[in-house]
């Protein structure tokens, strides 16, 4: 286990979070605390509310009730400047979400320049370093359309990292990729985990969970039915629904 540091500081807390879409109760009272340096995987069947949960964490989806506290700031409080909070929370999407009208380099530079008001040179230098880190130094001038899915997702990760976030949220970052490209994205993610990045990852990549993730949350029908160290949840799950779900996965 790389990141088993249970004594470290809490960075993100969720208290009794619910989310309804009309009559549909998608999240039914989620509570959990995420610690600095943790890599937490969220698994669960389709439609169980994984995306909704992770999107509530940076308030892209507005929760119906409950609290989310990030570094002592209650994001769910309407008077909180949510844009300022989001600077410190990166998010990586299933379908990448790169800006198609900007090159890989410009994609990475945009937020640091406009949000953090970095100078062009500063932002560019940092962006080039990040591209190197995700192994795409030669693609700086390419537009997203000219990149493979795996390359796009690596640029998207670099783009999030450029804001120097304190936590990175991933929503199924590899499930839109062809199988041969999954590895290159997971390698980047495992590198981040090794460097101590706090990560919350919705993913069913069992290799990632085994090798990089310290904790697994099992979400079924909008409730966390199991929460424990990765090995324990995967090898000897306590809840029958977890067993059933893992049986299909492995």
């Amino acid at each position: 286990m790389i990141n088993n540091i249970p004594q470290s500081k809490a960075i993100l807390s969720v208290v009794d979070l619910t989310k309804n879409f009309g009559d549909l109760h998608v999240l039914k009272g989620i509570s959990n605390t995420f610690y600095e340096g943790e890599v937490v995987s969220i698994i669960g069947p389709s439609g169980s509310g994984k995306s909704t949960l992770i999107r509530c964490l940076n308030h892209i989806e507005e929760p119906t009730s409950g609290q989310i506290i990030f570094e002592g700031v209650e994001i769910t409080n309407p008077s909180t400047d949510i844009n300022a909070v989001r600077r410190d929370m990166g998010m990586v999407f299933q379908n990448f979400g790169l800006f198609p009208h900007l090159t890989a380099l410009e994609n990475i530079m945009l937020a640091p320049r406009k949000v953090k008001k970095q100078s062009r040179d500063e932002a560019k230098n940092k962006a080039l370093k990040l591209l190197e880190r995700v192994g795409l130094s030669d693609k700086a001038e390419n537009y997203p359309e000219q990149l493979s899915g795996g390359q796009q997702q690596r640029v998207a990760i670099a783009r999030s990292l450029a804001m120097q976030p304190k936590v990175l949220l991933f929503d199924e970052p590899t499930s839109a990729l062809d199988p041969e490209m999954v590895r290159e994205v997971l390698d980047v993610m495992m590198g981040l985990a090794k460097d101590g990045m706090t990560m919350i990852v919705v993913s069913h990549e069992i290799n990632f969970i085994r090798q990089a993730s310290s904790r697994v949350l099992v979400l079924v029908d909008g409730e966390i039915i199991e929460d424990g160290p990765s090995e324990q949840v995967i090898e000897s799950p306590s809840h029958p629904r977890t067993k059933e779900f893992l049986g299909k996965l492995l």
């Binding site: 892209i60 999407f93 979400g97 790169l98 800006f99 009208h101 900007l102 937020a111 406009k114 804001m163």
Partner: protein, 261 residues
């Protein structure tokens, strides 16, 4: 050199073919159709009679250019602002902007120009005739550009907004740096059509007595007894419209750099 000229030929082949067809048609008309061309020339292409009168078109031309530039600018500006406002989905803006679009798309241009010029003084707003034309055209065509910008903004997928937000951008930054540049690709062709319409509709300025090109041409037509001035004015309009067309295809080419769809 060889390669570039071949490329040129390839690029303009459709224009070239159209041109050749028109030329052949004209040759047919002139030599084989048996029409009386001297009469036609006297009626439509009697430039001898126009000699010494071209100066008359200078000030109307400048006036039309001025009205065109202002109207195009304000029509685009109105459309952009209202479409951006609508994108925030605030009930009040939604209702008022929709009402504006429906209303101004159904008013005939001439009616609006007359109303603005003759009716607004009753509520204390006395606009010079040129300005009332600019205002009318801006409001009228602003309704069209609002819809054009709106569909452009809607064409950008939601994920782009979510990605911008999750990087800490506020909604103005997301709109300016992410949404609008992508919307432009969809917006430019229909916007060009509308702006060309604005230019051509400037001719209704005559109803409030603005000495514009068509009115002047028709006057001269009576004096010299030939339609030639109207033909001449059409050429002037073509020259006014040309820069708009060139600019628009430039902009379109730029957006094709990042997308070949």
């Amino acid at each position: 050199m060889r390669a570039s000229s071949r490329k040129w030929l390839h690029k303009y082949s459709s224009t070239l073919i159209t041109g050749i067809c028109i030329l052949l048609f004209l040759v047919y008309l002139a030599f084989f159709s048996g029409a009386d061309w001297s009469l036609f020339r006297e009626q439509f292409l009697n430039f001898e009679k126009m000699e010494g009168r071209y100066y008359i078109f200078i000030s109307p031309l400048l006036l039309v250019v001025k009205i065109s530039i202002y109207s195009c600018f304000f029509a685009t500006f109105i459309g952009l602002c209202l479409a951006v406002l609508r994108s925030y989905k605030i009930k009040f803006f939604d209702v008022t902007i929709t009402a504006y679009v429906i209303l101004f798309r159904s008013i005939p241009a001439m009616v609006l120009v007359v109303l603005v010029y003759f009716a607004l003084p009753f509520v204390g707003l006395n606009l010079p005739s040129t300005n009332s034309v600019i205002m009318s055209l801006s409001l009228l065509f602003g309704a069209y550009t609002t819809e054009i910008f709106r569909s452009g903004i809607n064409s950008v997928e939601k994920l782009q907004i979510e990605a911008s937000k999750s990087l800490g951008m506020n909604s103005i930054q997301a709109m300016y740096h992410v949404i609008l540049p992508q919307a432009m690709r969809v917006v430019i062709p229909p916007l060009t059509t509308v702006l060309i319409d604005v230019l051509k509709t400037t001719s209704i300025a005559y109803v409030v007595g603005v000495p514009e090109l068509i009115a002047r041409a028709r006057q001269m037509e009576g004096v010299i007894g030939s339609v030639t001035p109207l033909i001449f004015v059409s050429v002037l309009y073509f020259l006014i419209i040309l820069p708009v067309v060139i600019l628009s295809s430039r902009l379109e080419k730029r957006s094709r750099k990042w997308s070949n769809s």
